[in-house]
Amino acid sequence: MCDEAEALPLPELLGGGGALVTFGPTARPAAVDLSALSPPPAPAPLRAAPSPLRPLKDPERRTTSAAQQLDGATVLIVDDDVRNVFALTSALEMHGMTVLYADNGAHGVRLLSEHPEVDIVLMDAMMPDMDGNETTRAIRRNRRFADLPVVFLTAKAMPGDRESSFAAGASDYITKPVDLDELLETMAGWVTGRGPS
């Protein structure tokens, strides 16, 4: 394989077919053919990307408009149920998002202060110690996060839960089991600043 590569003329190695510089009848150099410098195809990922903060590139990524608007967004998930989070993270990563994760409210607030690039927070309502409402109040106490979208995900909603979450500063409220398309639609609405969709 190496021998074959070494035998190739330089232009071939540079990824193009024809010569990079061609000489006309007057022996004057023609312009460099930029198409000959096309980038090599991206190598298939050998393993997971080295940094959890780098969004995945996936050719089969969904291309709905909501998904497109969310491509490149950074999401903070605050949820103690790691089974749910792992599946949700996987889905969001497939749509080009970078996911940060906290398994409790205090950690979530800390992560947020360390990562100003967070575009939206997905908040589990029911968590031991600090619940979603308390965590959201703590987030809103910082003026920087006054307008940060905080979308609540909740398993069993009791009457009045919704209202108390909105009073705590929730931007939106989705009941589990979460429909992924619905969630993406809602998230895109908030990330693009359109508000509730």
Binding site: R28, L37, L46, R47, P50, R83, F86, S90
Partner: protein, 190 residues
């Protein structure tokens, strides 16, 4: 170069300590998880070269943990070595392979065998890290060549302008060509 991280997953503290001791001296950073849930939490924030996964754990066992890992694009390629006490139950090993384990080892095991297996995966990880770095370097070089080509074309345009002035190169065009060639040179000298 980053240090390879090895995720050790076992519900028993003494087993985790033993695994950490076995890994000592290898060029790795060990991260201990006391449950499948804790393992998944680590996998949400860090990348690992290899996972040593106890098959039998309360609540989320090794098989369920592995299924979650295999379903996520970012973690599905991380090699998993199952650790199982049930040497009499060979079907457990088959279950491990079925969920995507690359290897399994039955307890009690020879520490040197486990060390050797982990070393292989750590070396593979280091190689793929190297490939990723090389790919990145190639992309950087490709961009530099592209920028140099643009500058060379600009110089050519300036030089060709002499055609319009009967072979005479105006000083302004000459300076433009020189500046462009200078830029091309800088792009290529990275």
């Amino acid at each position: 170069m980053n240090t390879a991280r090895v995720l050790l997953v076992d519900d028993r503290k003494d087993n985790l300590l033993a695994l950490e001791a076995i890994m000592q001296g290898l060029p790795v950073q060990t991260v201990a998880a006391h449950s499948g849930e804790e393992a998944l939490k680590h996998l949400l924030v860090d990348d690992f070269a290899v996972i040593l996964l106890d098959a039998q754990m309360p609540d989320m066992d090794g098989f369920e943990t592995a299924r979650h890992i295999k379903r996520r694009e970012r973690t599905r390629h991380v090699p998993i070595i199952f650790l199982t006490a049930a040497d009499r139950d060979s079907h457990l090993a088959m279950r491990g392979y079925a969920v995507g384990a690359v290897d399994y080892i039955t307890k009690p095991f020879d520490p040197w065998v486990l060390r050797a297996k982990v070393s292989v995966f750590v070396e593979l990880w280091a190689k793929s890290e190297q490939l990723l770095a090389q790919g990145e370097a190639t992309r950087v070089r490709d961009n530099a060549m592209r920028a140099a080509a643009v500058a060379v074309n600009e110089a050519l345009t300036a030089l060709n302008s002499a055609d319009a002035t009967g072979g005479e190169l105006l000083p302004g065009q000459r300076d433009r060509a020189l500046a462009a060639l200078d830029r091309a040179q800088r792009h290529l000298s990275i």
